[in-house]
Structures are given as C-alpha cells and as structure tokens.
C-alpha cells in the first residue's frame, strides 16, 4: 500500500497515480516474493462514472511502468466498488484455472472537493438529471439513509459520532491511514454538517493512495510461503429492483424494508458460496463512506440483531478487541477515499490481520475476515479471507 494523503501534503505530494501504484505493487510483490515476470495478468480498478466522467487509474499504465510483458490487463469500472470488482476478477481468473499468478491494483489521485459524478449535459444521464433538477451532492445519499435510521431506531447524532471516535482510535496504530490521530466526541460533534445529520468528521474525504494484492493458485502459493492466506470466496452483486433508495430520480415505493440491496446481496452470496456464516467472522472491513454504515450493515448481514448496533458500539464490541470488530484499519473515515484503491486496501488489511501483523489495531486471534465495498451505479462486492 501507499499511505493515503491529499495532493500537496507531505505524504503523497504531487505523486502521479502511476507512482502511487508502483509503490503499492512493489510492496505487494516483495511481500509475496513474486517477481513481475511471474505475474500472468493484471486486474485493475478504474474510476469511470455514468456519463463518461472519470479520471485516474488505467491498468495499462501500470503494466507499461513495470515493463510491457504482453500480459492481459483487465480494467474494471464500478464506481467506489471498483477495487472489489478488480479483486473478484483476479480471484475468478485464478480460481477458474486461467492463471496462476494475478496482480490486483487500485489507486487514485482524486480531484478536490465533492465528487462530481456527471460531467456532461445529457438528459439521458440519470446523474445529470439528479444534479441539474435536484442538486443532490454525494453525501446526501448517506444522510438520507442516516436520517431514516434515526426515525426507525432512534439513533442519535451522538451515537453516530461515537463511530468516528472508535474509527480514529484504530487509525492511531495504522501507518497507512491518512489521519492517525484520535478525535474526541466533542471534536466530532463540533465539526460542521456536510449533509445534516452527517458532519465533516463522520464522512470520508477524498484522498490519494494506492493498494495492490497478489493472488496465486494454491499450488503456486506453496512455492512462496508455508502459511498462505486463503481467499474463501469473492462475490459481486448489483442493486435490486425494489431498493429503498432510487438509483436515479424515482422508483416504485418498495413493499418492505429494502436497504442497500447490492451490499446485502454480495455479502449473502459470499456466505453461501464459502459455507462461512456471520457467526464465523472474526472481523469486518466494510465501506464506511460515513459512520452510518457501521451501524446499518452489520445488522443487515446478520452479524448482529436489527437495532442492536448502537448498543454494541457503545459497549466497545465493535473495537478490535470486541465481539464484533468493525473496521480495525480505521476505515474510510480515517483513510479518506481513493475510490478504486478501497476494495484492495481492505484485502491488504484482512491479510495483515489474519497474519497477526496489525500491531496496535490487531484483532486477537483473527481467523476469518469479511471485506465489502459499495459503488455508485448500484455496485457492491464482498470477499472472505481466512488463514
């Protein structure tokens, strides 16, 4: 991984996305003991939104930088879920017997400010219509869901702020996090609203950063290590027809609760395929674009009971040493979001945790880790790794 930062700071400075990725790829290959010539394919996460807007990573640039060996490159686009999608394709190529060694990479140099999801004035682009006719900035999606949770479960703003306090505490011992300083509840509650009820410290900013992973077949992995980390499964899903939040301007009123159908579907598929259930999970890295998700997701996936998340949080059970550790890395709230790197950053954290190399944020005796991403356009991924 390359530590996350923002353009111009002491961490990433003016580094290009290729430089950031090179650093992450070199580190991943060194960690695995794999040389570039042994890599048989690259699965890269690419940030392209509907309407053609996008920036950043192109896997072909990475291959050129490392030396054109003529191997296949897959550029995957799925909004903020792209890293998870790239991991899934890498995994599928190896699991399906097509290749023995695949490199997965994601990285971004993000434009400043709120993510502009539509760059074209095209009335056929749902993002254009939503921004032009309504003006719904990215964080408003999360705020809508958070507000509804407050209505359904009585969640308070203070409880949501406590998620950030927990996350930033974890980040103190993560050398790759952009923010590595704990924050107090008062500091979180004093930060301004970005989209009421969500505040600045409760929402991930945009960051620059990169992450990479090497996936090998079981036979190949034995050549490099006696204790490989196993990918139990990797799953991809998209949004359901009756999702609670319209993907565009409108949808039918759903017949019952149907939150985050893409994320739930990906995680349920992962449980089903791996034969691993929610009670077997030692810890979870989930996509906390905002602290709200740390409360909602574990309930929807059966990691805990509906309406129980706030109590578990306040009892310290979501900390690395608790019963249901969530985002021991510090999560997006501590890293900021370098969109396409996120799904791969989670794989790196799962690997370190499962090897017992996570230092002060280590989940004791971590055996099975769950990773999940969500992306604009109705994308989601899940992966389960075990030692």
């Amino acid at each position: 991984m390359h530590r996350f930062g923002k353009t111009g700071d002491a961490i990433v400075g003016e580094k290009s996305v290729t430089e950031l990725c090179r650093h992450a790829v070199d580190m991943a290959m060194k960690d695995a003991g794999v040389s570039w010539k042994q890599v048989q394919a690259v699965s890269a996460a690419s940030s392209r939104f509907s309407g053609g807007k996008g920036w950043g990573l192109n896997g072909n640039d990475i291959v050129e930088d490392l030396g054109c060996t003529g191997i296949p490159v897959y550029n995957l686009s799925a909004g903020c879920a792209a890293g998870g999608n790239a991991f899934n394709i890498g995994y599928s190529l190896v699991a399906g017997g097509i290749h023995d060694v695949v490199l997965v990479v994601g990285g971004e140099v993000m434009p400043k400010g709120m993510i502009q999801t539509s760059g074209v004035e095209d009335a056929n682009d749902p993002e254009y219509l939503r921004q032009r006719c309504v003006g719904m900035p990215g964080p408003a999606f999360w705020a809508t869901l958070a507000r509804r949770r407050m209505f359904d479960f009585g969640t308070t703003e203070e409880q949501m702020a406590k998620v950030t306090v927990k996350a930033r505490k974890c980040s103190e011992s993560n050398p790759f996090a952009r923010f590595q300083k704990a924050v107090s509840l008062d500091e979180v509650l004093a930060s301004p609203y970005v989209s009421n009820p969500l505040r600045l410290f409760e929402i991930c900013p945009v960051s620059n950063g990169a992450a990479a992973a090497v996936i090998c077949s079981k036979e190949m992995a034995r050549r490099f290590t006696s204790k490989p980390i196993t990918v139990a499964t990797s799953a991809v899903a998209t949004i359901g027809f009756d999702d609670a939040l319209p993907r565009s301007l409108a949808g039918p009123v759903p017949s019952g609760p149907s939150f985050h159908t893409e994320a739930k579907s990906a995680v349920m598929k992962a449980f089903e395929r791996s034969g691993i259930g929610p009670r077997d999970i030692s810890f979870t890295e989930l996509q906390d674009n905002t602290c709200y998700y740390e409360l909602a997701f574990p309930e929807e996936w059966g990691l805990c009971e509906p309406g129980e998340a706030e109590r578990l949080l306040e009892a310290g059970e979501t900390a690395p040493t608790g019963r249901m550790p969530i985002n021991p890395s510090g999560g997006f709230v501590s890293f900021g979001e370098a969109t396409t790197a996120m799904g791969v950053f989670q794989i790196a954290e799962l690997t370190w945790q499962l090897r017992g190399q996570a230092g002060g944020r280590q989940v004791p005796d971590a055996k099975v880790g769950l990773a999940q991403t969500n992306g604009l356009g109705g994308n989601a991924t899940a992966a389960i790794l075990k030692r």
């Binding site: 709120m114 939503r130 921004q131 006719c133 507000r147 939040l245 319209p246 409108a250």
Partner: protein
C-alpha cells in the same frame, strides 16, 4: 427592493419561467411529473422508460402517465454546501433539504424541499409543486419540489 429582487419577481411570472430540463414536468395544469406506468405489473416510472424494468413483470406494457398530488416524506438530507456543476443555484447559497417522497400514486421520488431545513420531519405530508431552483438571464429555471402541507 433591490434590482435583483425585481428581476427575480419578474422572472417568477409565467412567461419567464423555463424548465431546467425540458420535457420532464409541466405546471400548466397543476404540477405534474411526466412519467410512465406498466399496465401489466403497475410499476410507475419517472422519467419515462421505453420498456418495463421490473424483473418479475410478465409482459412490458408501458403507457405514458403523469404524477403529482400528495405524498409522505420518507426521509430527507440537507445540502449544507453547494453541490458541484451541473447543479446551478442562486447566490448567496442557502442550504436546502432534499426529500425522498412516497407519492400516494406509488412513486418514490427525490426532489428539493421548499420549506426550510428546521421544519423538516420524516413522515410529514407533502405536495408536489413546480418552483424556481435558480435565476439566470432574467429567467427563472424551474424544477419539481415538495412543499409541506
């Protein structure tokens, strides 16, 4: 009255009102969203679609229809900072609420709220209206919004 106020008042007269995107809605016969409905599975759509998107629908039978009237505020958020382009707004920027509304006709639709953030509450009854979202070149560019009842 400042020059700007005068301009805005003028712009609010029907002749100078212009939809921010043409063809999506109208106000001549009351505030209406121009959508469609599948007569086979009863799924409502806005904007219009060519074919039914309900995976459970047996046969796509799309007919144009319009939506308006009343509904209930399912949830809302706030734009505390101005969204980036292509959104346009009057300066100085005033934070506004964005509602997700369940119209009684079965359509869940997003839209700006007319009333200030402080009076928003989940579950409130609302009505669809057409109102200006910004002023430019002496014109009021309109969109659909929701007003608390």
């Amino acid at each position: 009255m400042t020059e700007r106020d005068t301009m805005n008042e003028l712009a609010n007269t029907a002749a100078l009102r212009e939809p921010c995107v043409p063809g999506l809605f109208s106000e001549e016969e009351g505030a209406r969203l121009h959508g469609a409905r599948c007569t086979c599975c009863n799924t409502p759509y806005f904007p219009r679609v060519a074919t039914c998107r309900n995976p459970a629908c047996e046969e796509s039978k799309i007919v144009p229809c319009t939506f308006g009237g009343e509904g209930r505020l399912w949830s809302y958020s706030v734009a505390d900072f101005p969204p980036p382009l292509p959104h346009r707004y009057d300066k100085p920027f005033v934070p506004y609420a964005i509602g997700v509304v369940d119209l009684d006709s079965g359509l869940r639709v997003v839209g700006q709220m007319v009333d200030p953030v402080e009076v928003m509450r989940v579950g409130a009854r609302v009505r669809l209206v057409i109102e200006p979202i910004h002023h430019e070149d002496g014109k009021a560019f309109t969109s659909w919004k929701f007003k608390l009842l």
